[in-house]
């Protein structure tokens, strides 16, 4: 959906916008710097009945809520062994299994169920489905997420994420939904497991003892191989050579290329440095290193905008040839300064590289966004 949303701008306005954004530095309609995010308001814990929930409100009035519910589910055994014998073996080999979490605790992408709801669109709308696919792809891309849901060899948590846009889709909602999901997952807690090994799971009935899905705070969590935070998906676009983050609806309408870039905090640090990091943690906060998880190109709406007609070809201005062969004209017309022409072709490799670089760089946008979300009280 939404990326191809109808934008009520005339070709002349489009051309003007495009020109403004192509300047160095670009001039954005709302006066933001190219890498500046729109202000947002966030809170967590708005749905007391869920395992974790969050709500984010962008300054343009778009608003989303995400609720996370977890259920215990029996793991299907691939080799067809019965649960009984499986348990017996698990009991004896318990000690090993616990340490060696890499091999044993394999997750499965089925363990996450994600639904996206955009008001005014059916849930099987292509755009909605694509949004959902992108969000779950980002979640599962690091391969470590599903592993967090592992309880023992016979059971796992099944996580249901309900992602709701509660305002009309004023701009492409991907970054909003991604950030809200991120925040909800950060706030998600699972009841504390009390049983051991491969027994039927048995949990502490004290909610205060429930542990976070993404444990926060202490430095020790950084030493684990998994990322300490869920991924975020950012929307980035390029106009000419300029890279613009978090585009507004109007900006997206003139984008040459639009990308959804998913990044996670990279904690796949070599184990040798883990020890030193531990020491560092005490003194200075560890530098965040980001890891690229996925890139998806998004069809920018600019491709479907009607082109402007140069005065030279406009019959109102006395041109006559145009009427005879309109196709040829559109196809072959030279770019005319100040006349809107829908972008064609793919992104330039150099721009792509710069774009990814910009996302991942230290102190870059992703960093800034994560820092901002860090400040949200997870209550």
């Amino acid at each position: 959906m939404a990326s191809t949303q109808h934008v009520l701008l005339s070709p002349a306005e489009l051309a003007y916008l495009h020109a403004a954004l192509s300047l160095t530095p670009p001039i954005r309609p709302d006066g933001r710097a190219p890498a500046q995010f729109r202000p947002l308001i966030a809170e967590t814990g708005i749905l007391p009945g869920t395992n974790g929930s969050a709500r984010i409100c962008f300054a343009d009035g778009t608003e989303a809520i995400v609720g996370v519910k977890a259920e215990v589910e029996r793991t299907r055994l691939a080799d067809g062994a019965t649960a009984g014998t499986e348990w017996e073996e698990g009991g004896s080999a318990r000690g090993e299994g616990e340490d060696d979490d890499g091999g044993d605790k394999a997750g499965d992408s089925d363990w996450v169920g994600l639904t996206v709801e955009i008001p005014g669109y059916r849930d099987d709308d292509a755009g909605t489905a694509f949004l959902g696919a992108m969000l779950s792809e980002a979640l599962l891309a690091d391969g470590a997420f599903a592993r967090r849901l592992w309880i023992n060899r016979r059971f796992h948590w099944k996580l249901y994420l309900d992602i709701l846009l509660i305002s009309p889709p004023l701009s492409y909602p991907l970054p909003l939904l991604s950030l809200t999901t991120h925040l909800a997952l950060l706030a998600t807690r699972l009841p504390l497991l009390k049983s051991e090994g491969d027994e039927d799971p048995f949990f502490d009935d004290d909610w205060a003892a429930a542990r976070h899905l993404y444990p926060r705070g202490s430095g020790s969590s950084r030493t684990t191989k998994e990322s300490a935070r869920p991924p975020v998906t950012l929307l980035v676009m390029a106009v000419g050579n300029n890279i613009i983050f978090d585009p507004a609806k109007e900006e997206l309408a003139v984008a040459d290329v639009a990308l959804a870039v998913s990044v996670a905090e990279d904690t796949a640090v070599a184990t040798s440095t883990a020890a030193t990091m531990d020491l560092d943690d005490a003194a200075v906060p560890a530098a965040r290193s980001l890891r690229l998880l996925s890139i998806r190109t998004i069809d920018p709406p600019s491709r479907l905008t009607p082109p402007g007609v140069p005065n030279a070809a406009n019959s109102a201005y006395g041109a006559t040839t145009a009427q005879n062969q309109p196709e040829a004209r559109t196809a072959e017309a030279e770019a005319v300064e100040g006349v809107w022409r829908a972008p064609r072709g793919g992104a330039k490799p150099l721009v792509m590289a710069a774009l990814v670089q910009k996302v991942l760089e230290k102190g870059g946008v992703a960093d800034e966004v994560l820092d901002a979300l860090d400040a949200v009280d997870l209550g």
């Binding site: 049983s195 027994e199 048995f202």
Partner: protein
Amino acid sequence: MASLKRSFDRGPFAANISSKVYVRSTKSGKVQKIVREVYLRQDIPCSSRLCHVCLNTVPKDAAGQAIPFVLSDAPAGTSVFPQGHYLVPDTNALLSAMDLFEQSSAFYDVIILQIVLEELRNRSLPLYNRLIGLTKSEDKRFYVFFNEFRLETHVARLDGESVNDRNDRAVRKAVAWYAQHLARTKARKVPAVVMLSNDRDNLRKARDEGLHACSLTEYVKQLKDGDRLLDLIPETEDRDTAKGKRPGEQNLYPEYFTMSKMMTGIKSGLLHQGIFNVSPYNYLEGSIRVPAFPKALLVLGRENINRAVDGDLVVVEVLPKDQWKEPSSQVIEEEAVTKNENPDAEGNEDFVSEKERKALQEDVKRTQSKTTEGHAQPTAKVVGVVKRNWRQYVGHIDQSSVSQSGQQGRKQDSVFVIPMDKKIPKIRLRTRQVAELLGKRILVTIDAWDRGSRHPSGHFVRSLGELETKAAETEALLLEYDVQYRPFPKTVLDCLPKEGHDWKVPASIEDAGWKDREDLRDLLICSIDPIGCQDIDDALHSRPLPNGNIEVGVHIADVSHFVKPNNAMDNEASIRGTTVYLVDKRIDMLPMLLGTDLCSLKPYVERYAFSVLWEMTPDADIVGARFTKSVIKSREAFSYEQAQLRVDDGSQQDDLTGSIRILLALSRKLRQKRMDAGALSLSSPEVKVQMESETSDPIDVKTKEHLDTMSLVEEFMLLANTSVAAKIYDAFPQTAILRRHAAPPKTNFDELSNQLKVKKGLELSVESSKALADSLDACVDNSDPFFNTLVRIMATRCMMSAEYFCSGTQAYPEFRHYGLASEIYTHFTSPIRRYADLVAHRQLAAAIDYEAVHPSVRSGGRLEAVCKNINVRHRNAQLAGRASIAYYVGQALRGKATEEDGFVMKIFSNGFVVLVPRFGIESLIRLRDLADTEPQATYDAESYTLKTTGSREVTVELFQKVRVRVTDQKDETTGKRGVKMELV
């Protein structure tokens, strides 16, 4: 952007809302986060009679009556709180010393906080129920204060605070609030509010906050009879402090599995769950019936039994095949084997004592010497206890476990208590009153059984009195069989008709009581019962009809007219379940007024009845049956003997006698029909104790005589029950209350039929009840008329017990009553003494449209609960009755020695059981009783023969008739006066 979060700190009513979050795990394995909103209020009263403020806001019931306040305005004081005090116990205080709170000498005016009540319910349901009982009793003045809902006492959990700490804080806050609240009443003497806790931290914090707080021990010491009460405080408290000092303590028993591990195992079929039963002959052998196997699993040895006590719901694991064993053929009694153990020296001895080991060795030898591998039974070990079924046990202190120093002085001493029930292990008890308690029947409870302790530890509850006094022994019996013998509470008595004994059937037929009742006052009805029967349930009549058929009527006391569903009396009756008959005492299910007067179908007065009327052909074929509520007037109340005399006396030619004769003739035909259908005639040794009329001391024992008039009554009662069963099942296919007797599994008879085959060459066929009845009839030994009865007695013990059930829970073929060979059966004829009959009355009344169906008669779940309870009660009542007879038989024989004929019923390798029909008793004769030095013996399990050599040479076979000398003997270790038999 305005926050969407529910704000707890804003708005005018913000203070009144709180919430509670927890994780709920359901049975199906779901794990849910639950959020409950809590609305706080200020109109929850403190319920102190001193308080006038709360009176204004006290909630009113539906009738607009304010609920009366509970706590006294002049509560009792103690040495420390002379101004009077209210108690606020915390959960642990109640958990560990509920017996204290049930004392009648102290512990009045107690505030039970809601948080404490809830915690208690989660920890122990039986204790919770006892506490609820206390809060309902008017004279104890226990008040449940809903502290969680009162604004001032609600406590929100702090960050990082554990649930326990939070609950402790809630208790302290409530105590503080009460103290403040009461101070404001400006009463002359403001009672102190005292928190009771065994948690040191909690006590310290309370004192820091300036509250009154005591540990249980401190508090009890302030009371007048404190020393006595101190024993009621379980020893775990002392142990907590002492634990650190005993680093060398070893764990003797294997650790239990975690609950989740057990549940996983049960679900996957690797572990099994069931009720643990201990063999009455061998305390080291238990069995457990699990749904997965047709036969029970054996649990042998202390280690495998692993602290399970008879009646516990346990989880077991089957042992490998090389550890399978035969059930022991030896008698092992705990008192004998573990005699002279020192209760103080805990853990120093070997875990399985030398003697115990020896006893087991014998078993192994025997199993291995034989080639009968097929006889080995699967064994199992206990890996965990799902639910303890500990109750209060009656016992006495083992004299030999008392140290010399314990006999004097009041220092705390460890002794063993030997429970009356042989299946219960001895209990270690710490008490300060050894000297007083020696030689008394005492009531104790088990508190705990640690891994490090050989025996369970418990505490003293109360003394019932001297051993062998009638009062103590009777009470002991009632307690052991869980018979409710307290007098009926006032709420129950309030349900009785106001007229009391002056109640009469209304004279006017227009009266509401006569509605839909038939007037049967002109029928010649009489009742036939045992001598001295006061609660007459049933009466009969017969009269010829003009068409040559006979009308027969069975009239049952209309109890349901007086006991309305769901009132206090009905609830009490449903809990009691049945009237319990002891030799010298009757514990009624219904108050005396009803049982022996208003309901009882006494002669010469008009009574309400529920009548079943049949039209029968002279051949006792039933033409039709009809049910109606009626008014009758019994002409005479006969005893069996009187009725028999009258029937036999040819000179009696009046109508009444004639009608009894007709009934007698019909009953013989009915009986024959029943026998033809395969009804069993079973037997159990029944005797009657004759009492001296003045002192009610037993003087003689007689076996019961059987009279024709007994079977007359029995036949018609069976007929009435069967007819009613069919009728109520027809009206309520899902919820009819019925009685079934399941066919016994064939394997039950394996042992007996093998014994008969080997010893007497007789065949027992058990395919159907008919076949069994026939083959039992064939079991005759011409030289010995009693042999047939003996076999019947033994066969009866192989049967399942009959049970009440709700028709929706079983398929129709399962309704069968095996013993009576009846397709469907219920109990209808004794509503005065059985609750099931009362329910059947209500259902029948609804079935004939006499009254509307009451919800309690229709709800399957409720009826199932009722059935479950009355099945247990019924069984307990039987056991209590038998135990009472056994006790009196012992008393009757006191100081006498008689020689009697006996029959060998069961043989062990070191003893045998003899039944003496004359007294209806059976007793074990051990080899060591045969001679001064125990003779050597060889036991041949194949031919059931025990041959002794050495100091005395005898050969004992199964079914053998032996001559025994019966004397009474007080067993010094068990304190029971029992019968002692010696082979002559």
